[in-house]
Symmetry: C3
Subunit: 407 residues, 3 copies
């Protein structure tokens, strides 16, 4: 490597690297702090990323792969980028090698500029400080590359995928998350969101309890909480961090109330939404939709026969309603009723005509439909007749308004 | 100011002040610790009050206004009490000036006696200590006066209003809370209930995460939690602090279970109540009432067309029921059913006669009523006939018992 | 006492003790760290046990009683084991006396071996350290014996009972928990699960708030949280510690989701179960059962007329359903419906025949049954006809599968 003095030098160097065998274009990559086990010191418990690169900053990725390859070569090893992912521990030597390439940028680094370089410099600073004090051997700095969206093999890449979802860099349901439950260890998370192996707690229980310093365990789970890793948009509100799992995706303007709500990983909202109910894994909720208190939207693992549910825009799921089918825009499910795949729904002749206006492609040809047959239609208002118990659908006033606006 | 040696001197001094232009009788006032922004150092993020004065201790208020005016005059400014509120930062000089007036009381201060004076002395102590160490510049001590219950202009007065509600000093719905969402900044609250600007977290994310000290964010909200500011009565139980927002009001003997419950600001209970469901903003629940697991009471912003709901005494809202109308005393809504404004309810001739006994002013003149028409009646038992789906109302056994007791 | 050099000496010594008046065989016993009041210094607020002995290690119990008796005798007192329980404070002298007996085992102590001895040694270590520093006078080490399962008289024995339940050492509903609400003080628990008297917070409110160190109160309750005392099995997940009260019992493989779930004390699961709903006090849930989002199972204090509910194996309680009767195995309650003791349920002739196959002892002799009449039957699938509102029961597909497997 020749001395890199400016962007031209840098770009030339990158181009050279990108022709090498040890280079492969990553889909996503980032530096992370991996928390290691106390019982199993070689096991990664969790990983914190501050900067996540998704289809961007490939030049920096190239430089890092070059440095890793140099390091491997010195140890008579080869850097293998043939797998779907690569995770490499960053010691001071590797960090120095990488930072040297970026030295010409250090003066202009800060704020939103060169955040990967900021990350590099801070990792170096932490390593220098900790080598003096040896205060916490329970972590390592690493770099994680995802080259192909296959089954994650490392905790780091599993976290990288959860970050891609929670940072809204990829769409809900667009990543391969198979095997993630098997991969992530089940951990106790304390009052600072630090992970502990349950076995470590067992081994130290007497000492911790008799000293009065047994940690407050906030959760025992394979996943951390969204707010322990993600800084939401300024207009997002999450009134209880327990309610949103890491890997959830929240659109700007979304509010998660603390009553009966929950947003699982690989699910969420795509715009501003009021959430007082449950958004199960795989569920997508559209902008302007209101999930009422205690309303449940079923996930692929609970009652939908594997059909993931999308809820459209401006829908209202009433308090304590249950929705087991996908809905289009401007739909209403009245409070307290359940619309499942098999629920028989009556639609009067008049309402069939009304609904046809906002669902041009659907053939309303009879009185009774199963819930699943109505999947994805717009403007449905599901209600139960309080005098005879009949579940009906009619054109919702929300859709009527929109409909009239079009005239 | 002459030397104040006893209560007579003090009262005379206060009377003199109260004739001055810089005096105005406050509705409420108190000292607070204002937490300031780290990004915007002049912005108040939140305010903690330990002693809140509501239509009381006007003499002390007078002395404080006098001291503030003296301070302002020295700076060739005028103290303006013409607005609806006044918030003033307390530096050591102002504190000394105020404390000097109360010096004759210091010896008898402590416990429940002279709590405002205790507050003054402790603020002075903290300022003295921190001027030595400069350890936390992120706060200021302030005094906040609310002269008129208008739109709050400062975070301090907004908090003062929330305290008035949560300390049960004013009735739910009795304060002007307009504009409070626009006024309060949306913040990340950490494991110690300390507020952080989301922007500050963004600016420090890399450093915090790589050092392993990224805070556990417990919530992101404009409001703090009730239990971070309010010490409830000895017989109040709140099993999860996330469930009660600051500004809620809980009657002595109330229990808030952690399942699906929630109590929003400007809502709550007026006596002992069991709460396992949702009390939306503006809802008032009477003594002896049981809000079953997951039961929802709708708020003015969600399904009641702006009509705030009061629930009477000794009511039972069954598990997963939804109540969208006000109820009188001794009512029952069966588990799993929804009584909304438009729900048609059948009442038999016999039950109309029974209900008339406890609702003398209501004219039961037909079989079917809309939910809203029954608003506020006593002794209603709403149920759904499990063989034909019909929603009915009848006289509840609870009301029968009370009714018989009157014979 | 002669010098104990090996297990033979030890056993001989124990046999001798067991003939003494001061010995009584305990049902359960353990060492604990008792947190004492700050306002009432003699009051135990809570107690942490690291090792709980249930019908085991009676030899060790004997030695401890012997040491306590020696200590009492020296003070011209008598050790009274005639009551249902005994709680004794362990000072350094008593600890030394006990440890001396076990000295021959110290070398092989560690890991899972001799955990009571480990506990003794660590208590001694803590006492030695704290007598130097006097840093926290708010605790005492104690030993608690439960000789008979009667009304608990001490906070320590009340906690011992909660531990027995939460460590799955005794069956749910098998212990006498009468009076536990009256016995346990209502406390504020901070971000570290440390208990505070509400009165102490009141007395220190000004100082704490003005210094910016008012604790984050996580809950105000008589009970602590399960996860503050219990390390669950490796495959148990509890996504929010607020959701499980100390005294709950969770079978291996149980997952408690954070939406609308809750598990009260003296209730829980006996095997792997998915819990997204409420398990009220006294409710027992069988292995393989799925409690859907927001589903409520009523407790003895809320709607079951004092009949505790057991739910069998492989049941499915749909989202937002309400179950007020016991269920056998392989039952389904559809989402959104309520089956209470008085709910009338229609069963067709064909389904009566089907259900009879898995409920040989039950006489299906008519069309309509009250919910309570169907209590405990297997294979019931409760649903509501969405066209006429009728609640029906039929043979569940889950039971059909099992039924066919038997052919």
């Amino acid at each position: 490597m020749k001395n890199i003095k400016n962007m031209d030098d840098f770009n030339e160097f990158v181009k050279k690297i990108q022709k090498e065998n040890f280079y492969r274009e990553p889909i996503a990559w980032g530096f992370c702090r991996s928390e290691k086990g106390r019982v199993e010191a070689n096991r990664t418990l969790s990983a914190s990323f501050a900067v996540v690169n998704y289809k961007e900053n490939n030049g920096s990725a190239a430089v890092i792969l070059w440095a890793l390859n140099e390091y491997a070569t010195k140890k008579s090893q080869t850097l293998d980028v043939g797998g779907s992912e690569l995770v490499f521990t960053l010691n001071e030597k590797v960090l120095d090698k990488i930072i040297k390439v970026f030295e010409f940028l250090i003066d202009e680094t800060g704020g939103e500029k060169h955040r990967n370089l900021q990350n590099l410099l801070i990792m170096k600073e932490v390593i220098e400080a900790s080598s003096e004090f040896e205060d916490d051997p329970n972590h390592e700095f690493r770099v994680a590359f995802m080259f192909a969206d296959e089954l994650a093999k490392s905790v780091e890449v599993a976290y990288l995928k959860l970050y891609l979802l929670s940072l809204n860099k990829v769409a809900i349901r667009s990543l391969n998350l198979n095997g993630i439950f098997a991969l992530l260890p089940n951990l106790a998370w304390d009052e600072y969101s630090k992970p502990f192996e349950l076995q470590w707690l067992r081994e130290n229980e007497i000492w911790l309890k008799m000293n009065g310093i047994y940690p407050k365990i906030s959760s025992v789970d394979k996943f951390p909480r969204y707010l322990s890793h993600v800084i939401p948009a300024d207009n997002v509100r999450i009134l209880d961090d327990a309610k949103v799992r890491m890997g959830a995706s929240l659109g700007a303007g979304t509010t998660i109330m603390p009553g009966a709500s929950y947003v699982n990983f690989n699910s969420g909202t795509t715009g501003g939404a009021m959430v007082e109910g449950r958004i199960s894994s795989s569920v997508i909720v559209g902008e302007g939709t209101d999930i009422g208190g205690g309303a449940s939207i079923l996930g692929v693992l609970s009652g939908t026969n594997g059909n993931p549910i999308s809820i459209g825009k401006r829908c209202l799921l009433g308090a304590n309603s249950v929705t087991g089918i996908p809905l289009g825009d401007d739909c209403i499910v009245d409070g307290g009723i359940a619309i499942l795949e098999g629920t028989k729904v009556f639609i009067s002749e008049k309402e069939r005509a009304n609904l046809a206006k906002v669902n041009a492609d659907f053939k309303f040809d009879r009185e009774i439909y199963k819930g699943l047959e109505l999947a994805g239609l717009n403007g449905l208002h599901f209600r139960q007749n309080s005098q005879n118990g009949q579940i009906t659908a009619s054109l919702s006033k929300r859709a009527i308004k929109l409909n009239e606006d079009l005239h």
